[in-house]
């Protein structure tokens, strides 16, 4: 059974040969593929090559064509800086006034690095699309809005002029629907939807429910209508207070769960079991995967597998993005753990 088949089994509610391993690695693959992060973030061929090389070398089951969180904001007009060997970041957010009319919808085939992400998806689909799960990267409404407007400004908007914040979220939702569809057309089996800011470490569960969940739901529903096999909603830190909103009410069939959450508890929540949502998680990306040894990674992976594999909805993963320093040994140790401890009997 290859990685594509393994992940499809879990998504479809069937039993794979063993627990799939699909870590959150983007920039981490650059060095494995012999590139600097700057080049990885701007060149489609490099992006695809590094992602594929690392997946094959470590033996995990999928790739995430795409780059950093600024892609959509940049396509709208935010200014982005690219360090030679570090993650790109926004230096100037585009929407500096409360004027929604200043925004015009970007063209995913022309603007910013959206074409590059589409191209990387195409290359991955062509090269490894019949053996690895292709899960391209988009942002959710909240993260997209924050890259257009600025995180702090957006937070003030929620308090000062909520109607404007809603308009901006609507614009962002439509943008992501368009970008997501283009990536599905390019060959993505799945999409990871970056929504770090929705964490209760940041905004209240109420704000998440009232402002964001309906828009995430609209986005995810549009992506399924366009033929995507799965969506992995990604939010950082302890999402326990919003677990059901996040993993059930958004309509997603996959979620990423950070290390602070009891993953066994989450997978066994009745509403989540009933919805059949798959969950990826949740090794500590810092203490375990960055500073830990391969043996520590193996042991922690074993413990997680033992707690979660009986749900058959569990995918072994890092809680959040893995540092470049975690590859390749610690990602390989996760795969080793699945082979040794995560085999399904039937």
């Amino acid at each position: 059974m290859n990685g594509l088949e393994r992940l499809r089994k879990v998504i479809n509610g069937e039993t794979p040969d063993r627990v799939p391993v699909f870590p959150l690695v983007h920039f981490g693959t650059a060095h494995v593929g012999g590139a600097k992060i700057g080049q990885f973030s701007t060149d489609a061929a490099t992006n695809a090559k590094c992602l594929i090389t690392a997946a094959k070398e470590c033996g995990y089951d999928g790739v995430h064509p795409g780059v950093d969180v600024t892609v959509e904001g940049e396509a709208v007009g935010s200014k982005v800086e690219y360090p030679e060997d570090n993650i790109p970041f926004v230096v100037e957010n585009y929407l500096d006034t409360v004027d929604i009319n200043k925004l015009s919808m970007p063209d995913p085939y022309k603007d910013g690095r959206m074409p590059m992400v589409i191209e990387s998806t195409k290359i991955c689909a062509r090269e490894v699309g019949d053996e690895l799960y292709i899960c391209s990267v988009i942002m959710g409404p909240m993260n997209c809005a924050s890259q257009i407007r600025g995180v702090e400004r957006l937070m003030f908007d929620f308090m000062d002029q909520p109607e404007f914040a809603e308009e901006l979220l609507d614009f962002s939702t439509d943008l992501e629907i368009m970008f997501g569809k283009a990536l599905i057309d390019a060959g993505a089996h799945s999409l990871i939807i970056g929504e770090a800011l929705c964490s209760p470490a940041f905004i209240s569960p109420k704000l998440y429910r009232d402002f964001v969940v309906p828009r995430q739901k609209k986005l995810i529903s549009a992506l399924f209508d366009h033929g995507v096999e799965s969506t992995f909603l990604h939010t950082c830190a302890d999402i326990s207070p919003i677990a059901e909103d996040y993993a059930v009410h958004t309509g997603t069939n996959g979620v990423d769960i950070d290390w602070q959450v009891d993953l066994k508890w989450l997978l066994n929540l009745p509403s989540i079991k009933e919805a059949g949502t798959a969950a990826r998680g949740n090794l500590d990306p810092a203490a375990t995967l960055l500073t830990g040894t391969p043996d520590e990674v193996l042991q922690e992976s074993k413990a997680l597998i033992e707690q979660c594999m009986d749900t058959k909805k569990f995918i072994l993963c890092s809680g959040c993005d893995m540092s470049p320093a975690s590859l390749p040994e610690n990602a390989s140790a996760m795969v080793e753990a699945s082979k040794r401890f995560g085999v399904y009997e039937n």
Binding site: F202, C236, A286, A287, L290, C320, S323
Partner: protein
């Protein structure tokens, strides 16, 4: 007395206009300026910190409260002549390669509200700058922030730089940021870690024995 309570309540609500009005009113009536600060503005921020810790407030609520507090402070501080005594100085910054600043700003705010002097060296900061700033300000505390797993390892480099310069013994180093855990903090040789900005204040006091 009523003025101070009104100021504090305005801060908690994040109502900038109300805080400005109440602060100005208290000043016009000749109220003690330090009382306006401590019994009004900072008392309000204490309540905000408590609500944040208790899970009643989140980042947007804290941001508007701090904006309201700063508006009040801007009216009062130009009139204060003598230096206000502080609990100690902390140098604070986001490490090289990382430009996330909201967490750092919230830590700064909470520490200032608790009576610390904060020297904010900004984002994307080199290790040498941290050392120099701690030296120049005779800081007893250093706070290192990073939100990315790619930039977290740089915290260790900063700590090593303090070892190299022979200054490690002079300063207590705290680390924070979403992906950071206590285990990670221990593994890189940091002195302290806190889950959020409100708890960072308690940790800072604990490290300094106050």
């Amino acid at each position: 007395m009523a003025d101070y309570k009104e100021i504090a309540e305005g801060v908690v609500k994040g109502d900038r206009a109300a805080v400005e009005k109440a602060t100005q009113g208290a000043m016009d009536r000749g109220a003690d300026l330090e009382k306006i600060i401590y019994d009004g503005l900072i008392k309000g921020m204490d309540t905000v910190a408590a609500k944040w810790k208790a899970g009643e407030f989140y980042v947007p609520e804290v941001l508007i409260a701090s904006r309201a507090m700063k508006a009040g402070m801007a009216l009062v501080t130009p009139l204060i002549e003598k230096e206000i005594e502080t609990k100690g100085t902390m140098v604070l910054g986001t490490v090289k390669g990382d430009i996330h600043d909201i967490g750092k700003n919230l830590v700064s705010l909470m520490l200032e509200a608790a009576g610390f002097k904060v020297v904010d060296v900004g984002t994307n900061v080199d290790k040498e700058v941290f050392v120099k700033s701690v030296q120049e300000n005779s800081a007893m505390l250093l706070g290192l922030s990073a939100l990315l797993t790619t930039t977290m390892p740089y915290k260790k480099e900063v700590i090593s730089e303090f070892d190299r310069s022979g200054m490690r013994g002079e300063v207590k180093i705290m680390v924070g940021g979403a992906p950071v855990s206590r285990k990670f903090a221990d593994s890189i040789g940091a002195d302290g870690y806190a889950d959020n900005a409100a708890l960072a204040v308690e940790k800072a006091k604990e490290l300094l024995g106050i």
